[in-house]
């Protein structure tokens, strides 16, 4: 038998190849922007409200749970509701995209087997779907923040770089998830379970200070920091510097994982489908 590893797969070479795929994917933006948008239009075709149904169902859920929990936890609803709404909408974006990335290659089998194209573009397409959904849900955030007594300051501008970093981490994280889930078909189940646990272990429905002795659960949770760089500016507070560091580390980690796995295995993906 001939050894199957005729090619060299050094870590550096894989990173370079993977980065090239990521960039070529970005360059093919017409493909993923219009297809992602088309996917959303298709889902809501012939409905009057279209994707605004997303905002309505998110709004209802946030309002009902927000009022309920502020009663249960005995916190002031005007303070709790914006906190919960922002966290929940951001989480829906992240978890929704990551969950869908599990089938990120299998659902495009036809296209992958037709011609060579940057695989990253297919996942950007999934990212776009969830970005469009997020944009509609963001209206819920805007309304609730307006209603609450968050004071407007220049701090609000910090939410922009925060959101960009949050989205970049999410987009990049889709790639390693898709590669691994295509090869090992148990992984989609693992991913959805991990996300479910992470939802409860991350300060979305509860505030970190409510933990008292167990605050470390929030302090050492990278996702908590990733949420904070968007959520805190929107609540009129400055995110701690450690949150920015955590978020940048997450960005670097997801970039390395994406570039390496893509560089090392992009040629195998078609065989795994």
């Amino acid at each position: 038998m001939t050894p199957s590893h005729a090619r060299r797969h050094s870590f550096a070479a894989s990173l370079v190849n993977g980065t090239r795929d990521l960039c070529h994917g970005l360059a093919a933006n017409e493909l993923w922007l219009s297809m992602g948008w088309q996917d959303i239009r298709q889902r809501y075709r012939r409905t009057i409200l279209g994707p605004w149904w997303l905002a309505i169902s998110t709004g209802l859920l946030v309002l009902i749970l927000g009022f309920l929990w502020s009663e249960i936890f005995q916190v002031e609803v005007r303070k709790f509701l914006p906190f919960f709404a922002i966290g929940y909408v951001l989480w829906t974006f992240l978890a929704g995209a990551v969950n869908e990335a599990c089938t990120g290659f299998t659902q495009f089998e036809g296209i992958i087997k037709q011609r060579r194209l940057p695989l990253s573009a297919l996942l950007y397409r999934i990212g776009v779907r969830h970005t469009v959904a997020f944009a509609h849900n963001a209206v819920v955030i805007a309304l609730i923040v307006l209603w609450s007594d968050v004071t407007w300051s220049r701090m609000l501008l910090l939410a922009v770089p925060g959101l960009l970093l949050f989205a970049a981490v999410t987009f990049l994280a889709l790639i390693p998830v898709a590669v691994v889930c295509t090869r090992f078909r148990d992984f989609p189940q693992i991913v959805s379970n991990v996300l479910q646990v992470a939802f409860f272990a991350t300060p979305i429905m509860w505030r970190p200070d409510a933990l008292r002795n167990y605050r470390w659960i929030a302090d050492y949770n990278p996702l908590a920091h990733l949420l904070d760089i968007v959520r805190r500016p929107l609540l009129g507070e400055a995110p701690g510097w450690e949150s920015w560091i955590w978020a940048v580390c997450l960005f670097v980690a997801s970039f390395l994982a994406a570039a390496y796995l893509l560089g090392r295995y992009r040629h195998r993906v078609a065989y795994w489908l």
Partner: protein, 241 residues
């Protein structure tokens, strides 16, 4: 210069059915070692192409013939860059149009016009390119006002017309076809045949996988026969040579 050079190309498909595919085997194997590890490592593989070598230059019309499962489609997909050979090298210079499944990327809920763009993007065309060609596509497909209705209102023949009009609207150096495309009612089929011939005439290299020796003899200048993934015959054919 457009060319396809294959040297000792070997393509194997791993058979990743559930026992191999799940993580459990990996964990079990690393935990227990020994026999299970050998089981988990020894993936079943199917050799689809073995020691395939050829050089195809500009102007060649190549017919790939062989039984079902002889490796024709795998070879087409390898040339398209979908399957990277496990061993050997496969160098392709030139732009490629793969016409294996001409309606891939179509969305039944979108209008014909939107689908022209969706299909075009999958082929690597740009919005500007497609914008210039859409009138030609509309005219050739004969869809008229149907172009602005959802694709699900089309008959299957109309869908193929549209797909055919889109995929043949842009010239590429290399055209890969899995069987000659035949579409539509007699009237359209005649126009399509003419257009396909023009399209193929404008391309530098054509690779056509087919079961029809008659077609191969009529269109192609070279015939490569595959059997069990190996090239068993490579010969010049046809009147043009």
């Amino acid at each position: 210069m457009t060319s396809i050079v294959a040297q000792a190309v070997r393509v194997e498909y791993p058979i990743l059915e559930s026992p191999n595919r799940s993580l459990k085997r990996r964990f079990v194997s690393s935990a227990t070692g020994g026999r299970v590890a050998r089981d988990a490592r020894n993936h079943l593989v199917v050799t689809a192409l073995d020691d395939v070598s050829f050089t195809i230059g500009p102007g060649e019309r190549v017919a790939l013939v062989g039984h079902n499962g002889s490796g024709k489609t795998t070879l087409l997909r390898s040339i398209a860059g979908v399957y990277e050979p496990l061993c050997g090298s496969l160098r392709v210079s030139g732009t490629i149009a793969s016409l294996f499944d001409i309606s891939i990327g179509f969305d039944p809920e979108a209008t014909g016009r939107e689908n022209v763009y969706l299909r075009g993007f999958v082929m690597g065309m740009t919005r500007a390119h497609l914008g210039e060609r859409i009138d030609g596509i509309r005219e050739f497909s004969g869809l008229g006002d149907y172009l602005d209705l959802p694709l699900r209102t089309y008959s299957s023949g109309m869908i193929l017309r549209l797909a055919f009009a889109v995929v043949t609207s842009m010239q590429r150096d290399i055209v890969l076809m899995d069987e000659w495309i035949a579409v539509g009612d007699p009237d359209f089929a005649a126009r399509a045949a003419t257009r396909l011939q023009e399209y193929v005439a404008g391309t530098s290299i054509l690779i056509l996988a087919t079961h029809s020796e008659e077609l191969a003899g009529r269109i192609c200048t070279r015939r490569i026969e595959l059997d069990h993934g190996r090239v068993v015959k490579d010969e010049r054919i046809g009147s043009s040579n």
